[in-house]
């Protein structure tokens, strides 16, 4: 059903001097979906977002957004999309109100005409509307940038790392806003380096080194985890890590929140074997905890497969 897709990306390639930023990326985003592109710095997220929002030309490949070929017909797509760049790019010496009015007038509209569309977000910063953008806190800047990206009532939003460097409270407030926009039918593409934000998306693409490692719903990605995973709780993390690193059956050993995760091929390492090994190593005061893999475990496993391949 091609017409259900808001975004179609096919075999996208982008190279800078010696760096292959995007290595034949393909993905589809459905209308009304909240789609996350998740990966570390240097994965290619920003290149992908700039190309999809018609700000950068790819070397080859196709990008179709809302039925429009963005490389040919950039003028029509720009009226229908909102874009929020990773770096705060509003005018620091204009007030909140002046910034929004400026963006509205660029799109030949006014704040009043679109007030209802952004009311939910704008009302949170409206008390400070005379304050210069440069004097706002991180969370407020982010809300202002979102207002500016929404003021012309776009059908699709491209948000490039809106929550990077933002504290956990502002991050969760921002995601609440995205959920609200989604409910109203907006298609949203958002990139982030925070793996824990994956669970807030309908579907995600895990990106690393110019490639997509996996695209699916967060639940399906974690269900497809192909290894066996055990968590060990201990206060002696440093010694425990060194000890587990010497265990042959453990393919990957890494700290994970309060525990240490031990990854092995399915059926290759039982809890009994692990217990026996650690006792023989003289390790004390630890316990095995049942855990299910989360997105970050999957990302680590996929990255590791890729390096090995």
């Amino acid at each position: 059903m091609e017409n259900q897709n808001a975004v179609i990306v096919k075999n996208l390639v982008k190279t800078y001097a010696h760096v292959e930023a995007l290595k034949e990326i393909s993905l589809n985003v459905k209308k009304g979906e909240l789609f996350g592109v998740i990966g570390p710095d240097g994965a290619g997220k920003t290149s992908l977002f700039r190309i999809m929002s018609s700000l950068l030309l790819p070397d080859s490949g196709e990008v179709n957004v809302l039925g429009i070929d963005v490389t040919r017909d950039y003028a029509s797509i720009r009226k229908k999309m909102g874009y929020m760049p990773g770096r705060f790019s509003l005018y620091q010496d204009l007030s909140i109100e002046e910034n929004i009015n400026l963006f509205a007038s660029i799109y030949d509209t006014t704040l009043e005409e679109n007030y209802e569309n952004i009311r939910y977000i704008y009302s949170q910063i409206e008390p400070f509307r005379k304050r210069r953008a440069g004097a706002l806190s991180g969370g407020m800047k982010q809300k202002l940038a979102l207002c500016c990206a929404l003021v012309h009532s776009p059908e699709i939003l491209f948000l490039d790392e809106p929550t990077t460097g933002v504290d956990a409270v502002s991050r969760s407030e921002f995601w609440e806003i995205l959920q609200m926009l989604k409910k109203r039918g907006m298609t949203i593409l958002v990139s982030t380096p925070y793996m824990d934000e994956a669970s807030l998306c309908d579907r995600v693409a895990l990106m690393q080194d110019g490639r997509i490692l996996s695209v699916d719903t967060p639940a399906k990605i974690t269900t497809a985890y192909a290894y066996s995973l055990v968590a060990i709780k201990t206060n002696e993390k440093y010694n425990m890590l060194s000890s587990l690193r010497m265990l042959e059956q453990a393919t990957l050993v890494y700290p994970f929140g309060e525990n240490i995760h031990v990854v092995s091929d399915k059926g290759k390492l039982t809890s009994e074997e692990l217990t026996k090994y650690l006792s023989a190593q003289g390790m004390e005061n630890w316990e095995i905890v049942e855990v299910a893999p989360d997105i970050e475990d999957c990302f680590i496993a996929l990255m590791n497969q890729h390096v090995a391949a």
Binding site: P40, G42, A43, T164, A168, Y254, P255, G257
Partner: protein, 241 residues
């Protein structure tokens, strides 16, 4: 058992009428990994600047590595290492040149930085790229190198300001293992982060809200106190009352 290496009592910094840091008190023990958390604009950076001898406090008391933050700022600077996501190494110097430069700044003799530098390069597996410009290295390698250089002069304390921002999950963990190793060797680590899972890696934590320390305990203790399962939930409860 272990003695305290940072002692802070009612430390305050005022900018005009604004109290950026409002009478904070805390203690960090030697060899501890201490997580210094807080919302954007809560006063973390200001507090960290005072503890690293870069900014004079308005009032209160603080001793860092045995030196007074009011009177002995230069001695403090010599006893600490510092690294942040933004300020780390020089992109247009090679790996070796960066080591030499920082070694020189921290007052290491030629023989010392040469020896330590060689050991560092070997340990990070950078032998083949030591002559490369820093800008040609992936971000994760740069951050690991920056950390190693920040502790090249064997400081008593290393201050890390969001050292892992944007780094991939594997490299982020390798970075934390370097932190464990440094702590294991007796270096005290004072670290800020926005990754709440990294808060779990710390021995103890403080959380700042509006210039004040509102929570201060082990990750385990904080989760118990607030009756939640993750540090993320603790953070949200503390910062959004």
């Amino acid at each position: 058992m272990s003695s305290s290496i940072i002692e802070v009592e009612n430390l305050t910094k005022r900018f005009g009428t604004f109290k950026a840091v409002d009478s904070i008190s805390l203690e960090v023990k030697q060899g501890e990994i201490f997580g210094f958390l807080g919302a954007n604009g809560a006063g973390k950076t200001t507090a960290m600047k005072m503890l690293s001898g870069l900014l004079s406090p308005t009032s209160g008391k603080a001793m860092v590595a045995g030196f007074d933050v009011f009177k002995q700022q230069n001695q403090i600077k010599k006893s600490i290492g510092y690294m942040s996501q933004r300020f780390s190494l020089y992109d247009d110097l090679t790996i070796k040149e960066n080591i030499r430069f920082y070694g020189g700044i921290y007052g290491l003799k030629r023989k010392q930085w040469k020896e330590k530098g060689e050991r560092l390069i070997k340990r990070l597996g950078l032998d083949e790229v030591e002559g490369k410009l820093l800008k040609d290295l992936p971000l994760g390698w740069k951050q690991k190198l920056a950390f190693s250089i920040a502790i090249l002069h064997d400081p008593k304390i290393v201050f890390l300001d969001e050292p892992t921002g944007g780094v991939d999950p594997i490299t982020r963990r390798q970075f934390w293992e370097m932190i464990y190793e440094a702590a294991h060797d007796g270096i005290t680590v004072f670290v800020t982060t926005h990754y709440m899972d990294e808060a779990e890696y710390c021995d103890r934590i403080s959380m700042m809200v509006d210039g004040r320390v509102e929570a201060y305990d082990t990750p385990e203790g904080l989760k118990k106190k607030y009756g939640v399962k993750t540090m993320n939930e603790v953070f949200i409860k503390v910062a959004r009352p």
